[in-house]
């Protein structure tokens, strides 16, 4: 395996991750594209050394490159395309409706996090009520 390929794939992942870690959808979009390229390269490189195109009639099958990783990478390209297109539409909508493309924290998850505090509050209230009832019972 060439060091070049490993380096290129690694760098694409690194820069892509860096962009994914941003708060703006437009940057995240670029990040998805970079990581997508990186993973295609990763898939193809993991298939071993290259060769001639695996098309029968164009050369000796013994020299063919492995067609399986190519098929997988092809799928990956198309799916990455789908995701990118969808994110583009999302960014477009976000811009049209809010003039902003900030990716907020997941609201549902934040609610779950706050639930914890609410539980404690409910428990305290219940205890207080019970004490009050007991007091009234004594009187």
């Amino acid at each position: 395996m060439t060091v070049l390929f490993a380096f290129a794939a690694a760098l694409l992942f690194a820069t892509g991750t860096w962009m994914l870690l941003q708060r703006r959808l437009s940057r995240i979009l670029i990040g998805v594209g970079l990581v997508g390229h990186g993973s295609n390269l990763l898939l193809l490189t993991s298939g071993g050394p290259g060769g001639s195109a695996p098309i029968i009639g164009t050369g000796d099958p013994a020299d063919f490159s492995d067609p399986l990783p190519q098929a997988l990478a092809l799928t990956s390209i198309v799916i990455t395309f789908g995701v990118t297109a969808f994110l583009l539409a999302l960014g477009y909508r976000s811009w049209r409706m809010t003039r902003d493309d900030m990716v907020e924290n997941d609201v549902e998850d934040r609610l779950i996090a706050r639930q914890r505090d609410r539980d404690e509050l409910v428990e305290e209230t219940r205890l207080a009520e019970r004490e009050q009832r007991d007091d009234e019972g004594l009187e």
Partner: protein, 777 residues
């Protein structure tokens, strides 16, 4: 026939709710009872059979997973109890619920579903089938116990029962895995005795699972709480079915696991403690239903003890008592429910003189109670006698400890029976009026009479009971029990003398405790403790979820990176630097330089158009690398996709602001480190996988397959359209969904749109606010 009956159960259970809507709840109970009655009648004809009828379908080929049922003498006997008492309970319930009661259709359907699960359990041929139905009984009984779903007490009780029995289910699963591995087969019939460490562990797990289901101390706490259910449920679950499942499990697996080291000591420990603690509980409570519930706990302890002892006589006694208990306990629960409905209370302190006003209930109670206490002429007497004989047949420490449990438990059983009967039916003393009683409901009295009479008839036809019901089933558990019989009149032998002493002591104790009135039952501290435990698990789960699922997307990504880093560590050593070389040719090097430069530029550039172009440049560079590797299809697709995306950026985001916002500043260093770590992980993974290639790619097979089967020359195309055609179909579906999503997202109503281009000017401090918020919460 087995399939037909099980199918009838399922079909009718599904149809009952709709039927209840049209015909009313009570009629739906009769409908639900029909398949149970049919099963009971068929199983009756199979009683005492010496053959085993098996049916089954293979579930997963190659895994020895079979969905199989068998009906032998044991299966027939248990099915008569499960389905027969089930049908009677349906009739009884149609009297128990008033015409205006809501949810009776749901009740009928759930009851039938439970009965189906129980039938599957007693007929299961393989342990896996048994496990499935074991879990189904847990779930359906949860629904039955929590039937009054607006009552918090019932809900808590149902949850408690579910958590305890379902935990037992997990233990059982582990036990079955070990058992099947040790036995080499998942079948329950024709077992051979196992020994060794693994079988011992399987035995321990099976006994613990049985203890959770059959309410052995300390797992018994769910059973008294389950009395929050309507009484028909209690009459069904706690006589013949749910709680017997554990006992049945022990009986079924005893031939294989009886000789393992821990089986007997563990079973005896559970059983004997449960006999005594259950009986003491029955003596402390004042609610007639709770007295019966605790009595059930005690009787279950007795069954587990006798099965764990492992002698032929004890096994024979256990099977006898199992049958007798199912009949008399169902009758007693029904009577208590009858009293509850007609007087409005079950408190023995408030019930007076019911012997005169409820004669049928009184007679049935005396018959069933006598059977429970082991008094002739009821079927409980020879069964109890067999247990005493079994104790006399032991020696040494076994005899002492089992004798203590069985004989002591018997005295207490007589005592709580006497206390219950006196408490409910004794004439009103001075200062008490006889309790007012509502009119009789025959739908309730009928099943009571049948079950009360059954306890008596079992004694009358004792030879039939022995030869057709008990012995054939008991022989399946233990061959050596074939020589024993239920004896109607033993004569003045040791066992009979002991029985007389037990009854005398019990009557005196019961009478004394009846005189010394207790006003209120004890607080169920154990059950509350379990509830507290369950609550704290829920709170803990919330805390964990709140901590782990905090909602910050960058933090989620960082977690992913950390996991990746940890996962890759073992692979550093795998990298073999000899397989790595610099490059194939100079073109490749030039393309990589292009890709690297463009991708770095993409992170820096702040102009939208330039960013799109740079991303496109990365794509074209990668396409060039594909070409060098011999992948023309990839090149074509990549070029097409890349062009569309660049156009999309320019056109689609034409309305967006021209410049990208700056990189957000907080945690900058950490995010750079995280990104570099991901790159490192990818590089190491690639190098490690290249260093450790085993085998060669199936290029030849794929090439031949492409021509001969796919009929194409381009191998990659044939893989996509033929060999992995279904995957490609899925891919197409994804693209269609994406297209639909894009259309939906792009449609914006005019009033939804933000007015003015700078309605929300970019505020860089937003980023900081959001990120610092993550840190503080």
């Amino acid at each position: 026939m087995i399939w037909a009956l099980l199918a009838a159960h399922v079909v009718v259970a599904a149809a009952v709710p709709a039927f209840a809507q049209r015909a009313g709840g009570r009629a739906s109970l009769w409908l639900a009872g029909a398949p149970m009655a049919a099963t009971a009648i068929w199983a009756w004809t199979q009683l005492g059979t010496t053959t085993t009828t098996s049916v089954g379908v293979e579930w997963v080929t190659g895994l020895d997973l079979e969905f199989a049922f068998r009906v032998d003498a044991m299966g027939a006997m248990l099915a008569v109890l499960v389905s027969g008492i089930g049908a009677l309970v349906c009739v009884y319930a149609s009297g128990y619920f008033s015409a205006s009661a809501v949810g009776v259709g749901r009740f009928a359907a759930t009851l039938l579903a439970f009965s189906t699960a129980m039938l599957g359990l007693v007929w299961a041929e393989t342990v896996w089938t048994l496990f499935v139905f074991w879990e189904l009984t847990s779930v359906t009984s949860f629904l039955l116990v929590g039937f009054k779903n607006t009552d918090p007490v019932a809900r808590t009780a149902a949850r408690r029962a579910l958590v305890i029995t379902a935990s037992g289910g997990l233990v059982l699963l582990a036990g079955f895995v070990l058992f099947v591995d040790a036995a080499g087969s998942a079948r329950i019939t024709d077992l051979t005795a196992l020994s060794g460490g693994q079988a011992t562990a399987a035995g321990v797990l099976v006994i613990i699972a049985a203890a959770t289901k059959s309410a052995q101390v300390p797992f018994h706490v769910w059973l008294p709480g389950a009395m929050a259910a309507p009484t028909p449920v209690s009459a069904y679950l706690h006589s013949a079915t749910m709680v017997k499942a554990g006992v049945i499990l022990i009986a079924l697996l005893a031939p294989a696991l009886r000789d393992t080291d821990a089986w007997k000591p563990l079973g005896l420990t559970f059983g004997i403690i449960t006999i005594v603690w259950g009986a003491i509980g029955a003596l402390r409570h004042v609610d007639a239903k709770l007295i019966l519930a605790w009595g059930t706990v005690s009787q279950l302890g007795l069954l587990v003890t006798l099965l764990a002892v492992g002698t032929g006589k004890a096994t024979f006694a256990a099977i006898s008592i199992l049958v007798a208990h199912a009949v008399f306990k169902a009758a007693l629960f029904m009577v208590v429910g009858d009293i509850d409905v007609r007087t409005g209370t079950r408190d023995i302190n408030q019930l007076h003189g019911l012997a005169r006003s409820m004669p049928i209930a009184f007679v049935v109670s005396v018959l069933a109670g006598a059977s429970m206490a082991g008094v002739p002429p009821m079927v409980g007497f020879p069964a109890k006698e067999a247990a005493v004989e079994a104790v006399l047949g032991l020696s040494g420490f076994d005899q002492f400890i089992v004798g203590l449990g069985v004989l002591g438990g018997s005295v207490l059983t007589v005592a709580y029976t006497v206390r219950l009967l006196l408490g409910v039916f004794s004439p009103a003393g001075t200062g008490h009026e006889p309790t007012e009683v509502a009119p009789r409901r025959w739908a309730m009295s009928g099943p009571e009479i049948v079950l009360g009479a059954a306890s008596l008839l079992g004694f009358v036809f004792l030879t039939w009971m022995t030869d057709v019901v008990v012995r054939p089933a008991s022989v399946l558990v233990q061959q050596s029990s074939e020589v024993y019989s239920l004896i109607r009149w033993p004569g003045l032998k040791d066992a009979f003398v002991i029985s007389c002493i037990i009854i005398a002591l019990g009557v005196v104790l019961g009478w004394l405790l009846h005189r010394r009135r207790v006003l209120d039952g004890p607080i169920p501290r154990g059950a509350y403790g379990v509830d507290l435990g369950i609550d704290s698990i829920v709170v803990l789960a919330r805390r964990v979820a709140a901590t782990v699922q905090h909602g910050s997307l960058p933090a989620y990504l960082a977690t992913t990176v950390l996991v990746l880093l940890a996962a890759i560590t073992p692979f550093y050593a795998e990298v073999d630097f000899d397989v790595l070389y610099r490059w194939d040719n100079a073109t490749q090097a030039a393309l990589v330089v292009l890709v690297v430069a463009a991708s770095i530029a993409a992170t820096i550039i702040r102009t939208r158009l330039a960013a799109a172009m740079v991303l496109g440049a990365v794509g074209f560079g990668v396409a060039g690398l594909f070409f060098g590797q011999g992948a023309p299809d990839l090149v074509l697709t990549q070029l097409l996709v890349e062009t569309v995306i660049v156009v999309g950026f320019v056109v689609g985001l034409g309305a967006l602001r021209r410049r990208f916002p700056a990189v957000s500043r907080p945690w900058l260093a950490w995010r750079i480190i995280a990104s570099l770590c991901v790159g490192l992980v990818v590089a190491v993974a690639l190098a490690a996988s290249a260093s450790d290639r085993t085998g060669t790619p199936p290029i030849e097979e794929l090439t031949e397959g492409a021509v001969n089967e796919g009929g194409g020359n381009n191998v990659v195309n044939v893989i996509l359209t033929d060999i992995r055609a279904l995957d490609t179909l899925g891919e197409v579906v994804v693209l269609i969904v994406v297209a639909l999503g894009i259309v939906a997202l792009a449609k914006i109503r005019r009033d939804e749109e933000a007015s003015g281009l700078d309605a929300h000017p970019i505020d860089e401090s937003d980023d900081e606010r959001l990120l610092t918020e993550d840190v503080t919460t």
